[in-house]
Amino acid sequence: MKKLLSVSLIGLAVAAASSAQARDYDHVRIGVDVPYVPMEYRTAEGDLTGFDIDLGNAMCEQIGVTCEWIEQEWDGIIPGLLSRNYDAVMSSMTINDERRQQVLFSDPYITMPSAWFAASDLDIDEANEETLEGLTIGVQRGTLQDNYVTDNYSSVADISRYSTADDMVLDMDAQRLDIVFLDFPIGQSTLVENDNGDYTIVGEQITQPKEYFGDGFGIAFRQRDEALAEKFNEALATLKEDGTYDEIFARYFGEE
């Protein structure tokens, strides 16, 4: 009896010691900024859906962990990860060097250009220092589009920063904004394909310079969770091979 007790005590101690080191996750909490159509949004019934959500759930299933989505506004999404409110961020986050200093990224799972959108009657073909002069530009606070616009055009144009993409679209409809700069598919679905107003893309889709527009979207983890990131990378590779990825892609962006 005594022996049994001491063995189980040692077992407990070992278990406690190993859990103090890098955790082995069986439940992963993922932070997400909603809505960002079609990457992550709620249906009319209130269900969370979108490309990130479907792909994330598929990855979790592949790895064999349960996943929980936690909503967090964009401007606090990295601090929330670092302060352990959740274990990962899968929310259309572009991989770039500035963010690499704070978090660990998975392999990119999709690449997404940015683009300018404006009302059709705004008479410019291309966004540059001359055409943007005196206009009011809308961006989502803390996004790479915000950084790009702030660094390049803050001397010639007014910049309005929003917490959510929704508020920005609302002010676009209200005609408070002349032009907005956001991820191409989000602008396409919330502005161009929406029938509230008459909007169009201005100029080409933008992917350069790399310094701002990075290497595609990745899942962000805390720096020390390398094992977890590795598992997600493996799962992504498997899903790409077995066709699940293409199926989810087609669901939101059509066949390519």
């Binding site: 964009w74 401007d75 606090g76 990295i78 601090p79 670092l82 963010r99 704070q102 606070r141 803390g142 915000d146 950084n147 309005s160 920063r161 929003y162 917490s163 508020d167 609302l170 002010d171 409809d173 209200a174 005609q175 408070r176």
Partner: protein, 243 residues
């Protein structure tokens, strides 16, 4: 002058968060916050005086509308009022074509309107309380001198009510400064907005928020000092007399 800016650049070199650029944001934020709070307080004060007189009227049809106004604006959160004025106003058809649009297009004026109406409601109630608590003796003395109602209001009630309202009004000014921190939800780059921007760009909550908290503290101190000075001057007659 170049000496000072070189010294300043030197001081800020070697860190990412307190750069000349972010200092520029904080400065813009300070200017916006000060303008917003100062203007809303001045306009609110000007509105509140006649409203407080109406509110203390014995005629229901004069006092009731003011009561409804103060009740609504004191009974709902300032944030909700700001949202309604900023986002709600665009649902009126044709507002974009009307002469009001240059005002409502900017984020500054809707915020100014919301803050002004809010502080005017609180100030009205503060003044009304002070008017109500005018000592009976002063009123009877004024009557005995044969003063008309309006002369009595102007010479006796309002000046003494002002003095009695001063400490409570000082609090309202400080509350207003702190309440102005919500202006950044409608894209205004006020002090809090600047902190939120730096926070989201560099992913560090502590430095920017601590820094603006210090600035708010300094502003609060300045306000406290000003009201301390005013009270000393205007309420000197209430001090215990020493020989």
């Amino acid at each position: 002058m170049p000496d000072i800016s070189a010294w300043f650049n030197d001081l800020l070199s070697g860190n990412l968060i307190f750069t000349p650029t972010t200092m520029g944001y904080y400065w813009t934020g300070l200017v916006t916050t000060t303008q917003l709070v100062f203007l809303s307080l001045v306009i609110g004060l000007v509105l509140a005086v006649p409203l407080a007189i109406m509110r203390s009227s014995r005629r229901k049809w004069i006092s009731l509308p003011v009561y409804v106004y103060t009740y609504v604006f004191r009974g709902t959160p300032l944030l909700v009022q700001l949202y309604i004025i900023y986002y709600g106003v665009v649902f009126f058809d044709g507002i974009q074509q009307s002469f009001l649009w240059p005002i409502f297009r900017e984020a500054f004026y809707p915020a100014l309107i919301a803050f002004t109406l809010n502080t005017a409601a609180y100030t009205t109630e503060i003044f009304r309380g002070a008017i109500k608590s005018t000592p009976k003796g002063e009123i009877e003395a004024a009557r005995a001198y044969g003063m008309s109602q309006s002369l009595m209001m102007r010479r006796i009630i309002i000046p003494s009510a002002f003095r009695r309202a001063l400490p409570a009004y000082g609090n309202e000014v400080i509350f207003m400064l702190h309440a102005s921190a919500i202006a950044s939800v409608v894209t205004l780059m006020d002090l809090t907005g600047a902190a939120r921007y730096v926070y989201s760009r560099f992913y560090t909550p502590f430095e920017p928020f601590l820094f603006v908290a210090l600035i708010y503290l300094c502003l609060t101190f300045a306000i406290l000092f000003f009201f301390r000075f005013l009270e000393k001057k205007l309420l000197a007659h209430l001090k215990p007399q020493t020989l």
